[in-house]
Amino acid sequence: MSLKKIILLIYILLITSLFADNNKFEVLEIYKNLRCLICQGQSIADSNSDFAATIKLVVQDQINEGKTKDEIYSFLISKYGEWIVYQPTFNKNNFLLWVLPYLAFILGGLIIFLIVRKNKHNQAQ
């Protein structure tokens, strides 16, 4: 086997393994964002329960069918409700949940700004 062929083979193997790892990483990310409904504070990734095992099978099947992460979440939400996902989708019911951290950040910044300005003003006097 020539050196060129060996290098090509190694290249193909590396690319394949990289792709496989990415896929594995994506699957794990999905498992981690899914709540095990029969467990106490565990995600599907953390749980070895029967329910978690079945959800893992279904997610794996859907990935093999070419479904995207969002499509998988939508499917499971349609079956179990929003509670199944740890990261809730943005809608009118959880609008505050998404906006509040940004609001807290802006207001916190505003308070700090006002305090600093006041201190500077006092020092100037």
Partner: protein
């Protein structure tokens, strides 16, 4: 005492957060499936535990009401609810009962039905449990009642008891 704007903002913020926490504590955070009532069940096709016959969602459209019951021979509460399924099957022709045998061995499931009686119009198998996800099941026994438009009108998590049996009768009348 002079109150500054930043103090008002900080105070409002604390009050707001405490209100959110109080509301959060007041709400029941236990998972339930009530929100799924009114949803349509997915398309499905499941094979019988007895032979090579299949059942699909299309068949359920022919029934006025269908109760889909997930059971297994290894599930003790399934034994407890079985008499109610038998009563429903014997005394009411408005509702058809489909049993989905969940993660079970064929012989054990057949022995279970021979011993306690068979209330099901069709018994399908779900060897790996994947079909249960299609119906939003997370433990057994669980039952779903759908109308002829395949819309979920009732979901029972856990074994059917006398109270739920009466509710089913009221619902299908």
């Amino acid at each position: 005492m002079k109150i500054s704007i930043s103090q008002i903002i900080a105070f409002s913020f604390v009050v707001f957060f405490l209100s959110i926490l109080w509301l959060g504590l007041k709400n029941n955070n236990n998972y339930d499936t009530k929100s799924l009532i009114g949803n349509k069940i997915s398309n499905f096709q499941l094979s019988s535990i007895h032979n090579n016959e299949f059942i699909s969602d299309q068949v359920l459209k022919e029934n006025k009401f269908t109760l889909i019951n997930f059971f297994a021979s290894w599930c003790a509460p399934c034994r407890a609810e079985h008499k109610y399924l038998l009563n429903l099957s014997n005394e009411n022709k408005e509702i058809k009962i489909i049993g989905i045998n969940f993660k079970d061995k064929k012989n054990n499931a057949i022995s279970f039905l021979n011993e306690l009686g068979n209330p099901y119009n069709f018994v399908a198998k779900d060897l790996d449990g994947k079909a249960s996800i299609l119906f939003g099941i997370y433990g057994i026994p669980e039952s779903i009642i759908v109308n002829n438009e395949l819309i979920i009108i009732k979901k029972i998590v856990g074994p059917i008891d006398q109270k739920q049996y009466e509710e089913i009768l009221r619902l299908i009348q």
